[in-house]
Symmetry: D2
């Protein structure tokens, strides 16, 4: 299968996350170090189809390790979901003598890469870049650590004003179908209640918990609501519900939104991305394909992409318990 790899392409795909630039830099510099050619693909699979390529050397990635977003841009690409789209992409890669690519992204991006490999036998390696931390086979995805810190800093600010007015805040955070951001940032921010998609305890329990919190003399309450939450109510509806059923509270709502995707990456995300970029290029050089680079404890691992995309990472039951105990 593996003819020698001489030229590697790198792209970012799907939603952006902080640390993607550190991963790009790492792939580019590892290629330089191993004397491989390296090509950047702009705008994800769309740019692959259109041949939006650029040769990279070690200096092309100066001063990007601390930048949020992705200098290669990202995009979702409908065309790549079609056989024709992927055929065009393949021709572009061949035309530019590219032997393999590294895709930095999430589940959707990996699914595309796997399909592409199945059709053309083209070597691909994935690097998990998403704030959601929902990819099986890796304890951390690039961007998650930055996102939870952004959320915690925002809630620290909201708590200032909440405490000053004895208010209750519903704060909506990102995470799509999973509650990792909500649960971790909620514990980190000392939230009184955390509503996540994996666990629907019902609105009764929420009211009980808020009543208890009020009685215990707390000067404010913060309830974190994951965007994929299963209560059937969004934060605005939750506000109305509580105002109706528990009129002792002055309730406010905050939707944190896209600040969670940006910002200079944390040291953790920069180091993780740097390590994963090296591992990805090494894997390709060793003739490997269809793997995602993951981290287990402090060691990097290669996880079959098929496994990585087969399910979401489950929520940590022990952390749910910690969350319950902390709100005593």
């Amino acid at each position: 299968m593996a003819s020698e790899i001489k030229k590697i392409a790198v792209l970012t795909s799907g939603g952006d996350s902080p640390g993607m630039n550190a991963a790009i830099r790492s792939v580019v510099r590892t290629c330089a170090y191993m004397e491989l050619e390296c090509v950047a693909i702009y705008r994800g699979y769309q740019g692959m189809i259109e041949g939006d390529f650029k040769e990279m050397d070690a200096r092309s990635v100066n001063n990007i390790i601390n930048k949020g977003g992705t200098v290669l841009k990202s995009a979702r690409c409908e065309e790549f979901r079609t056989k024709e789209g992927r055929q065009k992409a393949y021709e572009q890669l061949r035309k530019h003598n590219i032997d393999a690519f590294v895709v930095i992204g999430g589940n959707g991006s990996f699914t595309g890469a796997l399909l592409f490999n199945k059709e053309f036998g083209f070597p691909v390696i994935g690097i998990p870049g998403t704030i959601d931390n929902d990819i099986l086979g890796t304890s951390y995805t690039i961007g998650f650590d930055t996102a939870i810190n952004t959320v915690v800093e925002a809630i620290d600010k909201i708590r200032d004003t909440a405490s000053s007015h004895n208010r209750l805040f519903f704060v909506e955070v990102m995470g799509r179908d999973v509650g990792h951001i909500a649960l971790n940032a909620g514990v980190g921010a000392g939230a009184e209640e955390i509503l996540i998609p994996e666990q629907n305890l019902g609105l009764e329990r929420l009211l009980d918990s808020l009543k208890r919190s009020k009685k215990s003399g707390k000067s404010s309450s913060i309830v974190i609501v994951a965007e994929g939450d299963k209560t059937g109510k969004n934060v605005f509806e939750l506000k109305e519900y509580v105002e109706e059923h528990l009129p002792i509270y002055d309730v406010r709502v905050s939707v944190l939104g896209h600040i969670q995707r940006g910002g200079s990456p944390t040291c953790f995300d920069r180091v993780l991305a740097s390590r994963m970029g090296v591992k990805a290029v090494e894997a390709l050089r060793q003739g490997k394909s269809n793997y995602m680079v993951g981290i287990r404890d402090t060691k990097l691992v290669l996880v079959p992409i098929e496994e990585a995309i087969s399910a979401h990472t489950a929520i940590d039951e022990e952390l749910i318990r910690v969350s319950d105990i902390m709100t005593t």
Copy 2:
């Protein structure tokens, strides 16, 4: 009028703002320095009516200079708008031998203080604490500098993800009826367009500006919308409007919300608050009343409260022009 002042009360009232704690600390420590007694009133005028008081000494305000919000809590108080409410408040103050009070807050709080003084001849001094920077007679209010930095940091993050996807963002910021936060943070964040209540240029101009921005090759656009904006559309409606009339953009919305009220105050706000607290106590000692402490350039001034509440600070025309030029 001015019998000797021996005991001063301090309270925070209305919406909280970062730096209020630094102002409280300053009033308390200045009293200690001048060997005056000092009493904290909790929960604004409500706490004044209810006698929610606490004796303070220099050590009572340790380690609060860097905290957001207000340790004295704040509240809006309907009862203080009534003659009966103010009578109760007056009785509480007399009962505790309080000779004067310093109120940290905005227009509403000052109006109450003025009324109170008219009725009972009670000495009052105001310190402008609001993120909106809308109080006449002072170039800066306490909390404004922190708020615009919070907004700028949030938009720096949003721009990361906006640039990565070539997106247009409408970002709603606070400021009630005035555009100071929007205009300053908009210039500071390099926004492409800034919609403020003081200036309604119409939606046509917005579309033109966005078209130009796109054509000029910018990778993203950020439009700041003050909450009091006069286009007649909120950020969600603006998104729909642009998507309909200018379908070249992928549009997103972010409502920054209450993070703008919190956070550790900037050095500017801490220093301003520290200075104003000293000035307020000094003014009372000198037998002054019905003044707000203001800052003009680098000098503190006393402004008649009546003047301070007579109108909002006008927006700076030169800064609007700078904003226009910067979006070239």
Copy 3:
């Protein structure tokens, strides 16, 4: 061995680290949740000897999760190293009916706890709180993540001015005998060279590396120097050495110092501390003693204290390699 545990004490000992307050809060709240009594011991073992104790309930630890340092204070204590000192401490604990204690600290603190247990059979559990991340048996210690972010943010700032003047900076970071902070923050900050105690490559290599870096067209260079570095030269001497042997550089020095110990803890450190506090109390309730709570991947573990203090955690060879590749 384990008579029933009804009353648990918690103390912080040795150097402070960000997240210690989150761990204290967690121990206290877990006790409240499990209906155990909880006592705080101030100033580490010194306070234990002097009986500087305070009863705690769930509300005693409100609003400390986001604070750096330790609200219980910390201290090094010579007296606890003597048999007499420990005897006094034991008597204080007995007098207050304390059945077990949780000590949050590093190697020295654990050694003391172990000795104490050996002498009196008193149940103890350790929680690793140190910025150095040097404790065997846990992948992360509380405070390390915050410290490396503080370093990275400082170096991001230094790089601004280094780049503007084409300068070389030697930046000294903490870490005592180990290079974990230096290596992780160095990779995260994109340092050109990282000097750690575990690996002395000699000064020749440093000069070669700096020459190469200059030749490659980089606009600035940052060299991270761990305080325990083995070159035999501190940062000031390194500056002189390079100025003498490589006069092409304008060299500056920065000793980051104690900012590395403080600051609001990151989400990672807050969550880690919250989890470890629960685990520590649970371990005591289950009759366990002489264990340190550790984390392996995403799971908490109990590590015999004897093992934890037997050696420093080794530096990650793979990360050294990543560091080399990134400076290509």
Copy 4:
């Protein structure tokens, strides 16, 4: 004198300061807006002598408003102090048809510009960019606000660990011959004592103050020392002195160093820089020369460079008094 200005150059000179990039961006964009040509000069006067120029348009300065340092680089230049050096610089400017220049820097840079103008009648305007805030005629220089926030954030961190160990810290801050950074950041950080060049109260007073502070029950003390301080002792010598004369303290030292020059500029500095850039170009268009753009209260002013460099801005006596009162 003023033939029509068609082409303007911009350079940064001397020490860099946060916000310089916002000023560069503003000069470039204002030229674009007014349909003037704009040229960037790299590495200050050295680059002027060497003809290190680059044509700029509005897009050349995308995404730099939030970056610390200066993208044009800066340098001190001995050659420009000679007649021959300035002659070469003049020839380069003429060769490139440059009609005027805007120099962003401090006293030294302005002195050079003035001399240059006297010799060649070449139109020059200065923009004050320095963290020291020491330039006469402007209430604020670009970078000062960012620097004092950096110092305050660092001291907030140091206080965490100082409080945890009941320690005394001497913290050295920048500011060259003036105490503006020390005084403002000291008040903002709640320092117990602030030593500035403008006021030498002697070491006796320091000891007295520290004794009082200890007695009052404070858990830590921070003493800010301006680098130009006149006690005759640096922070390390102060530590020794206090340890000898006041052995009740555990003393530590921190030299904040170059982190004070870097970092993303605050909103205040970005807005100030944006406004000053517009004003500078407008002044040149109006045929003005030898002025520095200053700010007085919220209004921009033009100050004769000769006046600006004639002396340092005096320290604010009222702020010294506030500082004394706050340490009660």
